[in-house]
């Protein structure tokens, strides 16, 4: 980044260039006609008189004066002033001639040789033609060879700045270019400035309405509105109120503009609302009230009071501007530098115009500052828009960042969940594997080991070994049945058991009946539940076959109170629970029932045995 000195130099260079360019352009547009055939009229005679007709003018009392003439400076205290010029023409013009008034305040009527040549607007009510060139064509034949007399009747309002600038007489084609340029600059550009300033103010005002917290936009908008309202004076010619009231309006808008600008400056620097700001607001309120009162009473005191008040506003603005420049210098803030640059630009023009108004410069050339002021507003507008856009971009960036962060967090969360789910799954698998291993160890494993033991022992009998191996196979089948996904349907489980055991029991000489009700589906029936139920029932049925002296056995299953109840009922002679061969089996069954949270009840008597399994 370039050093501070370099940046400052660049800043100055740009400022000087822009100012010079602007200056040159305005000078060009304000150019006066200097053609050969054009006569510049600046030596005239003046008489203060309120008559309306040049014929009625007295012969005496005329004072020679030179144009431009500023009444206030010449001590002319009147509302109507006549100017007179005698002109000798050798040859009457063959082309169309006209007369160009470069500046008159407020309005003037032209007479040639006693006839009215032209008047723009009217003298009563008084048109505000102070900021425009006036051109009148001279009708053919009015100009005589020899002596011609021009009269100009200038009217202003009380305490007004009456003025007549140099006039030009000559061929129309020589006068019109200058007229057009001045008209363009003074009227059309002014109109455009009013419109543009108003529009900018409106747009920025809308932004403020949408973001009431950013008061900097609000004050800027207000300043623009006041200024737009004030610039009407530059191009509005016919006004429907009295001059005094119009003046009050202009003063009010000027003060409003000044105060709003001061408050805008302070907000733009980021200064919070403090006492000083309230003083400015108070000043504005008081000024408006005073002017309103004076204006309502049409008091002439309006003028000096207004000058004072406007002057006060200028002081505020100047003070604010100085603070701004100091802030820019100290902080190096580019925005502040922009403001400073624009302010200095305008200041140059304002100074020049002040010199002009005070008479140190030829007032004919015209005012410059009115055209520089928009530059200020443009710069400020640009800065505000830049701020706005930056804020938008920042919020977009922030949003993107936040979204990215949220996405990252979500992904991380997902990963964590995945990990937890994986762990859970592995845990479930591991415990299931353990369970199956346990079952195989207790079931098939123990059967095979028993058969081995039997074979190794001397007392092995083939049928015994066969029986044990058959039991091992049956147990394995039972396990596989239990692993079948049944989705809580115990009916299927019991159906399988029935199919496996039915033939076997019948062959052993029993009458088997199965009384199965449609059992309700139970969620939470794990393979472990199924296996234990199957084993218990198988054990019970095997007991019936092996140990009971029964002829018939019935298996019942029904749903009861939300649970399931299964019964194995035989019509044998009962057994002694303490008998070793059934005792261990019963204990086993009870243990199994316990592991799945079921209740086993065995009732045995002389008429038969009932083994009941209750699942909650």
């Amino acid at each position: 980044m370039a050093s501070r000195a370099t940046r400052f130099t660049v800043f100055l260079a740009v400022l000087v260039l822009v100012t010079a360019g602007f200056w040159w352009m305005l000078a060009y547009l304000y150019e006066l006609p200097d053609e050969q055939d054009v006569l510049r009229i600046d030596r005239v005679e003046r008489l203060a008189s309120a008559v309306g007709d040049p014929q009625a003018l007295p012969e005496a009392g005329w004072m020679p004066v030179s144009l431009p003439e500023d009444w206030l400076r010449q001590g002319v205290v009147a509302e109507d002033v006549w100017y007179r010029l005698e002109l000798d023409l050798n040859v009457p013009p063959d082309r169309l001639w006209g007369v160009l008034l470069t500046g008159v305040n407020l309005n003037g009527a032209i007479y040639l040789n006693g006839s009215a040549v032209g008047l723009e607007g009217s003298l009563d009510p008084l048109s505000q033609n102070w900021n425009r060139p006036l051109y009148f064509s001279i009708p053919n034949g009015l100009l005589q060879p020899g002596r011609n007399v021009f009269h100009v009747h200038v009217r202003s309002f009380p305490a007004g700045h009456g003025f007549l600038g140099p006039m030009f007489l000559g061929p129309r084609d020589d006068l019109l270019p200058s007229y057009n340029k001045r008209y363009f600059l003074q009227v059309q550009v002014s109109q455009f400035i009013t419109f543009a300033t108003f529009t900018v103010g409106l747009l920025i005002g809308v932004i403020w309405l949408l973001r009431p917290g950013d008061t900097v936009y609000g004050w800027f908008s207000l300043a623009n509105m006041f200024w737009a309202a004030h610039t009407l004076k530059f191009h509005v010619s016919q006004i429907s109120v009295s001059s005094l009231h119009w003046a009050v309006y202009l003063f009010m808008t000027a003060i409003g503009f000044g105060c709003a600008m001061v408050l805008f400056f302070r907000r733009a620097q980021g200064i919070r609302w403090v006492v000083e700001d309230r003083i400015v607001l108070g000043y504005f309120a008081i000024s408006i009230t005073v002017l309103a009162v004076l204006g309502a009473g049409s008091s002439l005191a309006v003028y000096p009071v207004s000058s004072l008040l406007v002057g006060g506003t200028f002081l505020f603005a100047a003070y604010g501007f100085v603070r701004l420049v100091r802030f820019a210098w100290v902080s190096g803030n580019p925005e502040a530098w922009l403001y400073t640059g624009a302010g200095l630009f305008v200041l140059a023009f304002v100074l020049r115009d002040w010199l002009l108004i005070e008479g140190y410069m030829d007032r004919t050339v015209g005012q410059y500052s009115v055209y520089a002021a928009p530059a200020l507003l443009l710069v400020f507008g640009f800065v505000l828009i830049r701020r706005f856009v930056t804020a938008l971009s920042e919020s977009e960036t922030l949003t993107r960042e936040l979204e990215a962060r949220v996405a990252a967090k979500t992904a991380e969360l997902e990963r964590n969940h995945e990990r937890i789910r994986d762990l859970e799954r592995q845990q479930v698998l591991a415990s299931e594997r353990e369970r199956i291993m346990r079952d195989m160890h207790d079931g098939v494993g123990s059967h095979l080991v028993s058969s081995l033991a039997l074979l190794k022992s001397k007392h092995a009998r083939e049928p015994d070994v066969e029986q044990v191996l058959q039991a091992a196979l049956a147990d394995l089948r039972l396990m596989i049945d239990s692993l079948d996904p049944i989705e809580g349907d115990l009916n299927l489980v019991l159906a399988n058991l029935r199919q496996r055991m039915h033939g076997h029991i019948e062959k052993a000489g029993f009458q088997v009946s199965w009384a199965m009700e449609e059992l309700p589906c139970r969620a939470g029936l794990t393979p472990e539940h199924v296996l234990q139920v199957l084993r218990i029932l198988q054990e019970a049925l095997t007991n019936v076959v092996k140990h009971s002296a029964a002829t018939a056995v019935r298996v019942e299953a029904c749903g009861e109170g939300g649970g399931i109840r299964i019964r194995v009922v035989d019509n044998g002679s009962g057994f002694d629970p303490r008998a070793a061969c059934v005792g261990r089996g019963l204990l086993n069954m009870e243990k199994r029932a316990g592991t799945i949270g079921a209740r086993l009840t065995v009732t045995s008597g002389s008429s038969g045995t009932t083994v009941e399994l209750s699942l909650a």
């Binding site: 596989i480 049945d481 299927l492 019991l494 159906a495 399988n496 039915h502 199965m516």
Partner: protein, 220 residues
């Protein structure tokens, strides 16, 4: 008449035992055995017979292709299995088997089972029945045109039979409840197995066609 039985089983002791048990029945005789897919293929193509007992777990491949081969030649194929679990049985049925046999079936029952199969019935278990019900229900979901035929869907009767089997009722009980003979119940089951095989065959064809493996002849 005496029915000729072929056995494909890789374990020699089991093979021997099966042969002995089958031949205990006067109406059955074993005309050939094999221990591998290769030998089994040769046996089935070269040897005539009515019944084939095929084990799925063979050392050089899956017995399923032998089942398909034998069924294609009009043999009654029973898959021999240790557990009779529905996964193996249904896979075999889809390949064309019409029944299954537990490897440890005693000599008295084995002959009856085989003859029952030849006679038109098929063994089934509640698990297998339930699996079949699910399979056929899945087939009822909208399929591309040309596959919605009765050849692959269960009739209401057949569905009823399967549902009763899945509840554990014996064939006798089912026959009594539905008012049909025991024989009819058994043949219903055989028809259901056939439908499963047909359905899965056409499914396989459809899959192969849609994957471009085979091209249907335009004239067909």
């Amino acid at each position: 008449m005496v029915y000729r039985v072929m056995i494909v089983e890789d374990d020699p002791a089991m093979r021997q035992s099966l042969q002995e048990r089958v031949e205990k029945h006067p109406d059955l005789c074993v005309v050939g055995t094999a221990g591998t897919v290769q030998d089994g293929r040769r046996l089935i193509t070269e040897q005539d017979g009515e019944v084939a007992l095929v084990d799925l777990g063979l050392p050089d491949g899956d017995g399923t292709e032998l089942i398909r081969l034998a069924a294609g030649r009009g043999r009654e194929v029973m898959v021999i299995t240790v557990f009779g679990d529905d996964r193996h049985v249904i896979a075999a049925i889809e390949a064309g088997a019409t029944g299954y046999l537990l490897k440890d079936t005693d000599a008295e029952s084995i002959g009856d089972s085989i003859l029952q199969q030849i006679g038109g019935g098929s063994p089934i278990s509640p698990s297998i029945a339930r699996r079949l019900l699910l399979k056929f229900r899945a087939r009822e979901t909208p399929t591309p045109e040309g596959r919605d035929t009765d050849a692959v869907h269960l009739t209401d009767r057949e569905t009823e039979v399967l549902q009763m089997v899945s509840r554990g009722l014996t064939n006798n009980e089912i026959a009594a409840l539905l008012g049909m003979s025991f024989h009819t119940v058994a043949s219903h089951i055989k028809h259901i197995y056939r439908k499963l095989a047909v359905g899965s065959r056409s499914e396989a064809v459809f899959e192969a066609v849609s994957q471009g493996i085979i091209h249907l002849n335009k004239e067909n």
